[in-house]
Amino acid sequence: MNLKEKLKILADSAKYDASCSSSGSTRKTRGGLGNVAFSGICHSFASDGRCISLLKILMTNCCIFDCKYCLNRKSNNIKRAVFTPEEVCQITMNFYRRNYIEGLFLSSGIIKSPDYTMELLIKTISLLRKKYHFGGYIHAKAIPGASEKLLKDLGLLVDRLSANVELPTLNGLKLLAPNKSENHVSKIMQYVNINQSKKYVPAGQSTQMIIGATKESDLEIMGKSANLYNDYKLKRVFYSAYISVNKDSLLPVLESPPLKRENRLYQADWLLRFYHFKVNDLLDVKNPNFNILIDPKADWALLHLNEFPKEISKCSYYDLLKIPGIGVKSAKRILSSRRFFKISFDDLKKMGVVLKRAKYFITCNGKYFMNHDYFQKEFIEKNLVLEEKTSLNKVHEQLRFFNE
């Protein structure tokens, strides 16, 4: 099999992993080729609109596991391939020199045993770092069930190390990934969290959950995310809309991947990490799933309309963050500017506030954007839904997350 064919097979098997980011690392390099950019850099965008920043490949798509949702499961009759460490290094170096990529994302199907597979990853990445003096970004997948010693060795070579939770509940995992143990994944996360430093996994860890392969509600998914952020200080949880790659009686049959739901989860994830929301603010047992028509923040605001409209010239930073259409950056801009002049609706627009959403929830110097009689839930809701519908074609399903 020639190199091109191998690359095709092993990129194809890796593409379902949502993680693309190359940001957050502060690793210093001396000599050699390449460095890391703290903000991360996207080098291209694929036909699905997702960013390409890393050479995302598997070491091999051979696997001794039989996870129902996975293209590479043992029982699938597909073409299999294995890279040699030297081949991975060659492709990475040649792509990096030409500025095609920001670095390498290396994962693998499990061959022989978790330890054996992990040793193969370490051998490859160590060759890349030590023989080829590669200084760019490396994101490696830790193999669940591998020994702690190997986890330590791999973490010292890479910028980011991650293990995928895949399914938010134990039941889902037992059902679809009978060979995987939740225990193994949380062990990895715990170890990385305790040992993380400037030298060990400097860009931190992330994980991924598949959305829509099992019956979990958004409440369960977000609850799991919140725990992961709290317990292991994860940098990111990625949500990946389930795509029916396999036929199996245990799997749902979906016509198209639940992209809108995935989008809502990302929006809510943002609210948890940067907007001081708690899962319980957004969802509860009575309403365990997000409103598909309205984004989680606007939905929350409509349910708490008694706290609105908020006065732009007076309300606190935390209150500004609760206003739909105002983000972290625009909230900070408002704070820094309002000491110097009276902010008008027009000024807000210049500061990057999405006024067509925010205007329903604010007053500027005591003034509402129209007659105050219109400050009613039905009216606002109708307009917000309408606005989202008309912009639906413009807005992309997959958000690219620039800042981490």
């Binding site: 690359l7 990129a11 593409k15 080729l33 850099i41 694929a46 609109g49 020199r97 095609y100 690219r400």
Partner: protein
């Protein structure tokens, strides 16, 4: 001498010196342009003899902060019309508001400075990712870019750190300037003063380009195809120099 069109000698430092002179002497320019400017009939062109003194940079940074200074520099690199006037008005207000000047977002010059400098930085960031090198026969890496703003120096700065052990050349196609890196530093040369062969590629170049195109095509998920989203993040103007996009043009 009021209401004239003042001419500076094309350098950033000279522009700053001129503007400070205008401010100190309470001269209100109708326009400020570089030497390439061809005046129209109504223009009252004034060329002042002003020394080019780089002390001015430290002076601005001390009084208005380095963030403000950098923003002004990015405006200077931009291709915005009347960018010199925007810088003039910003510095004029800077004298009054000091390091807080950029918080006055209701001022037109502040709004423009913020937007233009953000736009310039955005373009630099895009090129850090979208620029593509080809390896020439002699192992020199060569890339062409066509940026709207004059960002060759900022892009070069990035690649100086990233590809420090390589020889590379980046060409700004629009401005006909080359940035040449000799493993120590980069310097700029006019295209007309430097001829070299860019068509002879290294032996394995085609093979590697093929590998990259294969990877690019494979990594997109068919079920999630979204051309509009791709176009938003990677507008068509960049495609011309990206080998993986050539066939989509």
């Amino acid at each position: 001498m009021n209401n004239g069109c003042f001419i500076y000698n094309d350098t950033f430092v000279h522009l700053l010196n001129l503007i400070y002179y205008l401010i100190q002497n309470h001269l209100k320019p109708e326009n400020i342009k570089n030497t390439l400017y061809s005046p129209n009939l109504l223009d009252h062109v004034i060329v002042l003899k002003i020394e080019e003194d780089s002390e001015i940079i430290a002076k601005i940074i001390t009084s208005m902060g380095s963030f403000t200074f950098r923003s002004i520099y990015y405006v200077f690199l931009s291709s915005a019309d009347n960018k010199e006037l925007i810088i003039y008005y910003l510095l004029l207000n800077g004298v009054k508001y000091k390091e807080k000047v950029l918080y006055h977002r209701n001022l037109k010059c502040v709004e423009k400075t913020i937007n233009i400098s953000r736009y310039v930085l955005h373009e630099v960031h895009k090129y850090k990712g979208f620029l593509r090198f080809k390896e020439l026969e002699n192992h020199i890496l060569y890339a062409e870019i066509e940026p709207e703003n004059d960002i060759l120096s900022m892009v070069s700065h990035h690649f100086q750190r990233r590809l420090k052990n390589e020889y590379w050349i980046i060409k700004d196609v629009k401005r006909k300037i080359l940035s040449i890196y000799d493993k120590k530093k980069y310097f700029f040369v006019l295209e007309e003063n430097f001829s070299f062969e860019t068509t002879k590629l290294s032996q394995k170049e085609i093979e590697i380009e093929e590998l990259w195109k294969t990877f690019y095509k494979t990594i997109g998920i068919l079920e999630r195809k979204n051309d509009r989203c791709r176009m938003n993040f990677m507008p068509k103007k960049y495609w011309k120099y990206m080998l993986e996009m050539e066939e989509f043009l």
